[in-house]
């Protein structure tokens, strides 16, 4: 589904990703962990097509297409979804109108008829229940005045509405208390399917107790330096990142 080869990217002249490789097949859940500043969020932004980042090398194919050639909205319509670490507030634009437009665009792209108002509302009701999102929030402006937990739940709700084939969760667990973490995770788990893949970016193992990954990768200094299964995450939780740093340093030497 997604193949990343030797990806290099920089922001304001500073190299962040330095030859990253990753292969994701349909239905897989990959966790990407790593210490602060290792390039986790950069990877998410580059995949989603944020223009601030400059891709300086490598390639990314998504469903046999060159992802890096597509503008951001095209990537979204092709089924790539980013749950933002810091969801932005858009004053005055109601969540409902926003989603209606987004769902409309994505359906149009897929060659589907627009949803009737009735069907759309039905879908909203169904999907918002997934993340226990208050019906009131759906009518408020996008993320405006939402608590941290509400913003993250809203991201998962949007994901449920847009039904992407690849979802990237960028530190979705940051700033969540234990109840919110459970709700968000259950929402994600409900969306797992043999066709849908996930990239879960997180600093802590905690989230992976709820969203159990098929693979765990450690990102350090812009590269994936270690890959394993969920046990790797537990080991990282126990031993921290220092041993990875040492290993990398030794390998480099």
């Amino acid at each position: 589904m997604l193949t990343i080869k030797n990806l290099e990217a920089s922001i304001e002249g500073k190299q962040i990703l330095k030859g990253l490789n990753l292969e994701i097949k349909p239905g897989e859940v990959h966790a990407i962990m790593g210490p602060n500043g290792s390039g986790k969020s950069t990877l998410a932004s580059v995949l989603a097509g944020r223009e601030d980042y400059e891709v300086t090398g490598g390639s990314v194919t998504f469903n046999d297409q060159d992802l890096l050639e597509m503008p951001a909205e095209e990537r979204a319509r092709e089924g790539l979804f980013l749950a933002f670490q810091y969801p932005v507030e858009i004053p005055g634009v109601s969540n409902m109108n926003f989603l209606k437009a987004a769902v409309g665009e994505i359906r149009k792209h897929k060659g589907l008829e627009p949803l009737s108002a009735k069907d759309f509302l039905k879908l909203v009701k169904e999907k918002s229940a997934l993340v226990e999102l208050d019906g009131q929030l759906a009518n408020r402006a996008v993320n405006e005045g939402f608590s941290g937990g509400e913003k993250k739940r809203n991201e998962i709700f949007q994901m449920a509405m847009l039904e992407p084939s690849l979802a990237i969760l960028d530190e979705t667990d940051s700033g969540l208390d234990i109840d919110a973490l459970r709700i968000v995770s259950e929402g994600v788990n409900a969306l797992r399917s043999p066709e849908r893949s996930f990239v879960v970016i997180t600093h802590y193992q905690r989230l992976l107790d709820y969203i159990v990954p098929d693979f765990v990768h450690v990102l350090y200094k812009g590269k994936i330096v270690k890959s394993g299964t969920k046990e790797l995450a537990l080991e990282l939780e126990e031993r921290g990142y220092d041993w990875i740093k040492e290993e990398t340093a030794q390998a480099g030497a």
Partner: protein, 480 residues
């Protein structure tokens, strides 16, 4: 496509309502002197007192100079090159809308204000002012049953001279400013509305102003009087066809709200803004003022300004009655070479008076958009309250957004708060929308409409839809 490209594309859009109507016109020779004023007054068969009132205004005007404090620059109009009177020749007394000139009907259809449709869908009574003479008035009988007078100013002068004489010029005196004096001397028509005591007007009253005749000035005069405990919502919409020479519009609107009465006055203005180079377009120098005369009276101004080459407009409230309330909600969009200097004045005189100002400016292209507002708390205004929020959104690096609030406080019990922000349209907001599959044009449209929502929400439903459409035309192209 980057947001710059989109803004470029939008900037290239032509004025959608630029068409002229081929109706023979009865036009006075250009120039302004006492004879022209006598001609206007005679043509309209006016009483002697009004002619004298006009002549006095003319004398006042001649002693005045054009104001130059606004943040706009333009070539001053040649007041002797303007024709001060233009009436469609096929002037008809209509018994029903079917008798309307087919050309006029087409114009109205293009404007999307088909009378029947409006009648049927919204129950709106429309007083359509084409150039200077009111040609069609609807719903008159229904309003008549409630004692509501809603007619053209010319008709009011003939039919209700006492009311006109009592209130005309009481809120905006002839000496008020250069353009108000000019208007008082040469106004040709406009609307008059009187809501009797205790009557809540059951429908939105609506007037469409439209400048049609080339080289004519438009000097409308509107007077709305809401007697004690009454309520009226009044809508004013404006469009002008595309013309190369600048056209002058200097209207005067006076509102009087008595004890426990409320007037809600909404404007959607999309006069021709001129072309991309700033050629042509309407000069809109308007004086709008409301008097909250009695206790607990209320006046609320809502405006969506997308048109005109130059806008100079400050709908104001004189809060004289105790507990009276003034509100001003405004969205002003400028693009290309447009210049807008608009805002409000809230004059607190009575006790416990309250005012709210919400102003949202949007600047694009090479335009200049200024908010200018005055909050004055008089010594007598015990416990006055004001809250002002003035935001500016910038869409290009060649436009300007300016905020000039004047706050004068002479009573310590006042509580006055003013906030203003200026910022660029948020790139992270646009990216968020893109990531959800919207294109940049949709993203900008959505963000801009969201930004202006607080004001758009104050408009009556049918106007809000049109206003959103106008914002789209002015900024986002086909989106809407």
């Amino acid at each position: 496509m980057t947001s710059d490209d989109i803004i470029d594309e939008i900037t290239n859009r032509e004025y959608e309502f630029g068409f002229t109507t081929n109706i023979e016109s009865d036009k006075a020779p250009a120039g302004l002197n006492e004879d022209i004023i006598r001609l206007i007054s005679a043509k309209k068969n006016e009483p002697e007192w009004l002619l004298q009132w006009r002549l006095e205004a003319f004398a006042i005007w001649q002693k005045m100079t054009e104001p130059n404090w606004a943040h706009v620059s333009y070539v001053k109009p040649d007041f002797q090159a303007i024709s001060y009177y233009a009436a469609p020749k096929k002037k008809a007394k209509l018994n029903s809308l079917d008798e309307l000139d087919p050309e006029l009907r087409k114009t109205m259809d293009k404007l999307g204000i088909s009378l029947e449709e409006q009648k049927r869908l919204h129950g709106v009574a429309v007083d359509f002012v084409m150039d200077s003479v009111s040609v069609a008035t609807s719903f008159k009988e229904k309003l008549g049953e409630l004692g509501i007078i809603f007619c053209s100013m010319s008709e009011a002068i003939q039919e209700h001279p006492d009311l006109v004489k009592k209130y005309l010029g009481t809120v905006v005196p002839r000496t008020d400013n250069f353009y108000a004096a000019l208007n008082s001397a040469v106004f040709t028509d406009g609307s008059f509305c009187y809501i009797p005591k205790g009557v809540k007007c059951p429908m939105e009253l609506s007037t469409y102003f439209r400048i049609n005749e080339g080289g004519t000035g438009q000097f409308e005069r509107t007077l709305v009087v809401a007697d004690e405990e009454s309520y009226v919502s009044y809508l004013e919409g404006c469009t002008a066809p595309q013309r190369d020479e600048n056209q002058l519009h200097a209207a005067v609107v006076e509102l009087i709200s008595m004890r426990d009465a409320e007037i809600k006055y909404s404007t959607v203005q999309n006069w021709y803004p001129g072309d991309k180079e700033g050629k042509g377009g309407v000069f809109n120098f308007v004086t709008k003022r409301g008097l909250c005369d009695g206790d607990r009276s209320k006046i609320s101004w809502t405006q969506v300004e997308t048109g005109s080459a130059i806008t100079w407009k400050y709908p104001s409230c004189i809060l004289k009655g105790d507990h009276s309330v003034g509100e001003f909600y405004s969205v002003a969009v400028t693009n290309n070479m447009q210049q807008a200097d608009t805002g409000t004045k809230m004059l607190h005189i009575g006790r416990n008076t309250k005012s709210t100002i919400i102003s949202k400016g949007i600047s694009a292209g090479n335009s200049q958009n200024s908010y200018r507002g005055l909050v004055h708390i008089n010594k007598s205004a015990q416990n006055a309250r004001n809250f002002s929020q003035c935001d500016s959104l910038l869409m290009s690096d060649t436009c300007g957004a300016h905020t000039f609030p004047y706050i004068e406080i002479k009573n310590k019990t006042a509580k006055v708060e003013h906030e203003a922000t200026t910022s660029k349209i948020g790139e992270d907001q646009i990216f968020y929308c893109l990531q959800r599959g919207l294109d940049e044009e949709q993203a900008i449209s959505m963000i801009v409409n969201g930004y202006a929502k607080e004001v758009l929400n104050k408009l009556p439903m049918e106007f809000a839809v049109e206003a959103q459409k106008l914002l789209a035309i002015s900024l986002e192209g086909s989106v809407g």
